[in-house]
Structure formats: C-alpha cells, structure tokens
Symmetry: C2
Subunit: 477 residues, 2 copies
C-alpha cells in the first residue's frame, strides 16, 4: 500500500484537467488591481477564492484594508482573505501567502489570444493573465487541499492562507494587517511559504532564500524660477541640467561600479559555502542574452553575473523629471530637474547609512561644481534586503520535496528585485520564510502572453503537497 | 511750415486712439497657428490685413504655402500676404516682414484678463495676445501708410510687405516662397526691415544686427531590446542611461565652457570697435536676475553677460527621451535613450564643421567608456548665425530715426536666439536686413499677460515712419 504522499501525487497527476478547469475559471475573472474600472472584478476574485475554500471546509475570515486614495478618488480595497484548515496542536502550522489580483492586460498590447481566456497551446503552455502570477500557485494550494479531501486524507500540517488582492498595486493596507494579526491570527504559524516568484531558468526548480532591497533617490537641482529659452540665457546662467548631469554621472561607472565612498563597506563577502551554490545553477549566459535581447553583459561568467544580480549592490539611473522628454527638438533650459536613481541593496547594508553616504557624496560632488543653483537629495523609498538561511529545516523540507517530485536537487537562488511581503512576514512573525516558485523564468509574469506550463502547474501542485509532508516530518533544531 | 516727417509724427501722436482701436480688432482674432482648432482664425487674420491694406490702396497678392502635415492630418497653411505701395523707380524700396499669427493663450494659463481682448491697464500697457508679437509692429507699418494717406503725403519710399501666418509654428512654406520670389516679387527691394524682436531693456530703443545660430543634436544610446527591471538586471548589463550621462556630462562645464575640442577655434575675437558698443547699453545685472528669478549669473558684468549671450557660443542640455520622466518612482532600466542638446553658434562657426567636431568628440568619449551598448549622434537642425554690419546705411537710417523720435542713440544689440527669416531674406535677396524692434524686453511675448506699452506702440509708429524718411535720404556707398 502506498504512503499518503504517494497517493496524493498519483491523484494529482490524474486530476490535472480539473485543476486546469479551476485555473480557467480564475483567469476568466479580470482582477486587475491597477485599474479602477476592474476593482469590482478584484472583489469577485476574492469571493471566488472564499467560496472555493469554504467548499473545502476551510474556516474563512476576511480583513478590510480600508479605502485607497486613487488620485483623489476613494476606492474600496479588496479584502485580505484569511483561511484556516486544521488546528491540531500536534501538527506544525504552515502559512501560505498569495495574491489574487493581476497585472493589466489588453489584447492589443500584443497578446495572441484573449488574455482573460485560458488557452493551452501545442507546447502545453496554459496562456492567460494571472496563470503564473499568481493564480496558478494560489490554486495550487487549494488543489492540494481538495485532493486530500477527495482522498479522505488528513493534511499533514495545519494550513493557513493569507491572500491579498492588491499585490500588483503596492499591497496597500497589507503590512498593517500582518503586523496587527501577528500574535492573533498568525500566532501559531511555524513557517511561511510563498509561491510568487520563478525558477531561475526553464528546466530546473529552485528554492529562493534572498532578495535585494532598494533605496530610491530624487536628486533635485533648482535654478531659474521658470523654464528659460536657451538662446537668450545659454552661457550666462548656471543651468540645472548641466549640474544634474555632472553629479549623476559620478554615481556609477559604465561597468556598474558604484562610486559612492563607503557603499561597499558593509557588503558581506561571499563565503566558501555560498560560493559552492553557484556551481550547478541552471543558467547560461545565453539565457541572459535572450532576456536582454543583446550581448551587453558586464560579466563573462554565470557566477559573476548572478552574484551581481543577487548579492552585490547595483545603482541604476532611471530618468529626469522636469526636463524635455518628447520626441523632436525643444530649446528649453529646464528650471527645476529631478534626477531619479536607485540602489539595490544587500546584506549587511543599512538603509539609513546608505542614505547618509549618498547625501554626503552628492553634496560634495555638487559643491565641486561651483554652481549657484541649489541641489537637494532625498530618499523616497527604502525597502530592506532579505535573506534566509537555506539550511533552515523549512528550506530542507522544500529541497527534499523538490527531489522527490522532480528527481533533482533544486537550484538555491536569490533574486535581484524585491518582494516586500517576504520581509513583512519575517519581521512581524519572526518565522522562517521560504520562496518556493511554481513557474519558469520565461513565464512573462508582467508581460504579454503570460503562461504557466501545464507540467509546471501539475508538478507544482505535487510539490506544494509534498512540501507539507516534508514540513511535517522535519525536526526543528 | 513743418517738414513731411514732422507732420507725420504730429499726426501719429494725435491719432493714437485709432491705432489702439485697430490693434484691439487684431488682438480679438485668436490667430493661434499652433492649434488646428484656431487655423480658420489665422486665415481670418490674414483677411483682416488684406482688407486693411487694400483700403489703403495697396496692391495685394497672396502666395499659398500649401498644406501642413499636422501629425498625419492635412491642414491648409495660411497665405503669405504680399502688398505693394508705390512703384516709383526713383525711390528706394523697403521690404517689411511681419507675422499675423500668435502663440497659444488661455485665461487659465495665468492671464489676468481675456487674452484675446485688448485692455489698457493703469500703467498704459496694452495687454493682449499678439499686442507685441507681432500684431502691434505689423499694424505699426499699416498705421504709417494710413497716416500718409490721410495727410495726403506721398511715402518717401516704395513699400513692400511680406506677412506670414505661421511664424510661431516654424514658418512652414515661407522659405521656398522667399527664394522663389527673390528675383520676381522682391526684385526691386533695396533693404529689409523686420520689427519682431525687443529692446534689450525697458527704457532705451535699440537696433539689432546679429543673431546666434543653433545646431541641435540627438545623442542616442541603445542597449537592451526592451526596458528592463533594475532589480533583475542592475549591475549585470551595460545600462544606456549610465553611458548617456557619462557622455553628456562631458559636453559643457557648470560655468558654461564647451568642452568639445576645436569648437571655439572659429569664434571671432571681439574687435575694439565692437567692444565699445557694450559700454552704454541699457542693461543691468538686476535685469538679468529679474528675468531669471534668481541670482545664478555666471558672469559678473553686463559686458561679459551680453557677450556670452550674443557673440560667444553656448551649449545647453535639454532633456532625455525614452527615460522615466513622471513624478514618483519607477525602477526601470530604459532600453533606448536619446539625450537632447544644442549649441548656439556665432560667426565664423560653420554648421558642418560643428557637427563634425561634436561627432568626433562624443564618439571618442563614448569609446572611453568601454560599453557594449551602441551610441549614435545626429544633428537634427542647423540654423546658421546671422550678423549684419551696423555701419550699413540701412542701420544708420534706423539709428538716425531713433535719435529723431526718442532723442537718444539706440543700443546696438544682438540676440542670443534665432529669427530664421532674417537669414532667409539675406541669403535670398542679398540685401541688408535690419531688426528694428517696437516692444520692450519685458513684453512677455510668449508668456502670459503679453503687453505692448502704449508709448512703445505710438513711438514705434513714429519710428517706423521716420525710418522710411531716413532711408529715402540715405546715400548708399
């Protein structure tokens, strides 16, 4: 007689058409959080999940994040859905997070099919907005619960859901609820698992244990009281654009080295153990070239490239507010220009210290110009980096589950971007947070023709279920 | 018995209310050339002038510049109005140019009154769009003709008009007509007089004998095939913005010195004679500060300031196309960015050589970066500088007229900007071109609450008429 986990895996394999039907229903609800016209659809998607969870016997509550100020128009925020399945004190409790809103999508953006109608193509890709980000993974957990209910099997752990409907629009209101519920609804949580990122490449699963932070800066140079004509004033006054370009050109070299003194001082060195994790990664320079569409890599090796993506800081110049930006020619001297740049941060850089170093440096560089204009710098956002120990039993459980379902050890990855909720859960609950993706690196989560491969969906369901068994088996140190 | 010119001056002084009425009628026609919704008003303004000229006995013809392609929509271009008064071979022939279109104006832009209703305030400023630019000056000439008709006086010269309705929108179609008519309609022209600029300050008239040229450049850096996420790609690829800022920061110093080698080589030195013209100019540093709204002057003296405005080159950075320009934060790595900058040029810089020097320099600077992105530079517009001899009899005539009407010698000025038609007339007709302004430096030609002081209008009419007598008297060398 086969073990419960094997029974589950076998059942999941057989029931994939039902899972795809469920995903089809979810994709058909255009729950675009960024467009007020679709706000009621976001609520409808929340109701859909509540109904599914209740039908499976979950105890469901909601929290109201309140009202959004959308450019002056108040818009109700969709509920945070909290669902509980099992409260056995003898079992561990796993909190899963996901989101039920999606990015905007219009056929005319370049979709080959209606973005809100799930279609399977000849390569068995399930194409539709939200298929991979994040409806597939959210339904993945629900499918695991359903399979156990149908099979008459008890879940090996207590499961709690936290599902939000505003992830693609800044997760408004979520943090307050997480911190508020930390010792209430989330009290018994042992570990957190989030399935909202991607495999590094297209062939090998991964578990993800780190994210870079980001500090965003506005560098403002002011001169004249209004825009001026360059014919009349060129070469007679200090021009804000000249000063801005002078200072912003001193921030980073064309090869990506940040020129702000002290900025690298707190960056952790690569340990021997970490170094090894880069040896067998499923990634090639060709994949970088394909993603970028050009061979403009700074580093020649996969290891250097991924270390600079994941665990070294970067600085990017994003744009200028207040200057001429249209096509064509305009001979303006802009009066006030705001240069935008950000620094991706890594352990053990401190947001406060980063801001101090940036302020000191740009002030010094501006002073060197001898300009009569005024310059100011402000940090408009500072989200911290996040890194978990990949040796924690939660990660070991995930890694074992990958091996059982896929027959390979997962890539151990980090990401260059941010997923702020990860840090919120860690800070509020003081529990280990795991990123366990379902989709592939080429799913096009925020792009046209977003897809989730059928095999990723089905294997992902098996993986999430198996992971719960591994968690149940794990022996916390 | 008084001379004809004195009789005219006296008459003009007495008839100012009629002149203001005529200006009121002209301002009431919102002949905005830049907005298709007002195109029919531009035509109506052309008809108004044709009617006025015909009523005074002028022989009027028009030339059709054809059709404008306004972002894909064909729009008829308003006519070039050609009017002749007098064909006496014994007299000199003066060509006057003016334009009958205006800049856009909306009450909500910050006008204190309806921009298309001429009002006179307590300081005797005639406020309304086009009052100073260029309806006041155009009607100035017409008022001169009317005065002579009413007085039964013959004009001392033959007068030809060339009036266009697209000056504020690039003078589309005008150049072809000027060159085409050079040995036809304009065949007998001896000198050209344009009243479409301003006194240097607010108290003293000027004649203007030079304009800077302008060469506009687009510096394009291309890298990825599409915009990228700075979290995922920061520090792993060459970023176009980093390269663009590096190169553009090498173009000009914060004190306005252009860093392109060779760019100053052909700039004429200030002659002793020219140096003297800067001694008595009606201009103070306070006027610069007032115009700019801040004390950000590079040079401390009026002479240095005006020499850098008028007769030395300048380089201004105008903006970036393709980068983030909105308020707020966006962590984008723009894929293709186009930096815009222009060089104001002076005698004897050559547009072709300027482009070559710019190309060579930015290519060298980009090569130094060691970037794998691609950079290209193009000159999108090159309008040449213009300078006339202020000793030409046409200028002497104008200077004499200023002395007669105002009792002072005029400032001898140049301007930092361009008035392309000046160069077109000089090149096509090979005749001396004079800029003889009517309005003051603070008229706010393209701004809100544009005005023409009553005294400038009335004295301007006297000046234009007196100038014709001085031209008639002049003895060409």
């Amino acid at each position: 007689m086969s073990s419960p986990v094997d029974t589950f895996i076998e059942y999941a394999e057989k029931n994939q058409e039902a899972y795809i039907d469920r995903l089809r229903k979810a994709v058909a609800i255009p729950s675009v959080s960024g467009d007020p016209a679709y706000r009621k659809e976001v609520f409808r998607m929340g109701e859909f999940l509540i109904d599914e969870l209740k039908a499976l016997g979950a105890s469901v509550e909601t929290r109201d994040p309140g009202v959004q100020d959308f450019h002056g128009t108040p818009l109700p925020l969709p509920p945070i859905v909290l669902a509980t399945i099992g409260t056995d004190p003898a079992k561990k409790t796993v909190l899963v997070y996901g989101h039920y809103d999606v990015q905007p999508a219009l056929k005319e953006d370049g979709w080959n099919t209606d973005p809100f109608e799930l279609v399977e193509d000849e390569k068995h890709r399930l194409i539709g907005r939200g298929s991979s980000d994040d409806k597939g993974p959210v339904l993945g957990w629900i499918n695991v619960v359903e399979a156990h209910k149908e099979l008459g099997l008890e879940l090996p752990v207590n499961l709690k859901f936290c599902l939000e409907g505003m992830e693609e629009s800044g997760s408004e209101g979520l943090d307050d609820i997480i911190f508020n519920e930390a010792d209430k609804y989330f009290k018994d949580v042992d570990v957190v698992s989030i399935s909202d990122n991607y495999w590094l490449g297209t062939t090998k699963p991964c578990v993800t244990y780190g994210l870079r932070g980001v500090s965003y800066f506005h560098l403002t140079v002011k001169g004249p009281k209004a825009d001026l004509h360059s014919g009349v004033f060129g070469a007679t006054i200090h021009e804000p654009m000249t000063d801005l370009f002078a200072v912003m050109s001193k921030l980073v070299t064309p090869k990506g080295k940040i020129l702000i003194p002290g900025i690298y001082d707190n960056v952790l060195a690569v340990s021997a153990e970490e170094e090894k994790t880069y040896d067998d990664l499923s990634f090639t320079m060709q994949e970088l070239h394909d993603a970028v569409g050009n061979e403009i890599n700074i580093h020649d090796s996969v290891k250097d490239t991924l270390q600079h993506r994941w665990r070294f800081p970067s600085l990017s110049l994003h744009g200028v507010e207040g200057a001429f930006y249209n096509p064509g020619d305009k001979t303006v001297i802009p009066a006030r220009v705001v240069g935008k740049f950000s620094i991706r941060t890594v352990p053990d850089m401190e947001p406060k210290q980063i801001t101090e170093l940036v302020e000191k440096y740009v002030n010094e560089e501006f002073a060197k110009l001898g300009s009569k204009n005024t310059m100011s710098i402000s940090c408009t956002h500072a989200g911290n980096h996040w890194v978990a120990s990949p040796n924690h039993w939660n990660y070991v459980a995930a890694s074992n589950a990958v091996e059982k379902v896929f027959g390979v050890k997962p890539d151990l990855t980090r990401e260059g971007g941010s997923i702020p909720v990860t840090l919120s859960f860690q800070d509020a609950l003081k529990k280990n947070v795991l990123l366990l993706p379902m989709g592939r690196g080429d799913d096009g989560a925020h792009s046209t023709n977003e897809k989730l491969d059928r095999s990723n969906y089905v294997s992902g369901i098996k993986l999430l279920g198996t992971y719960l068994y591994e968690v149940a088996e794990a022996k916390p140190e």
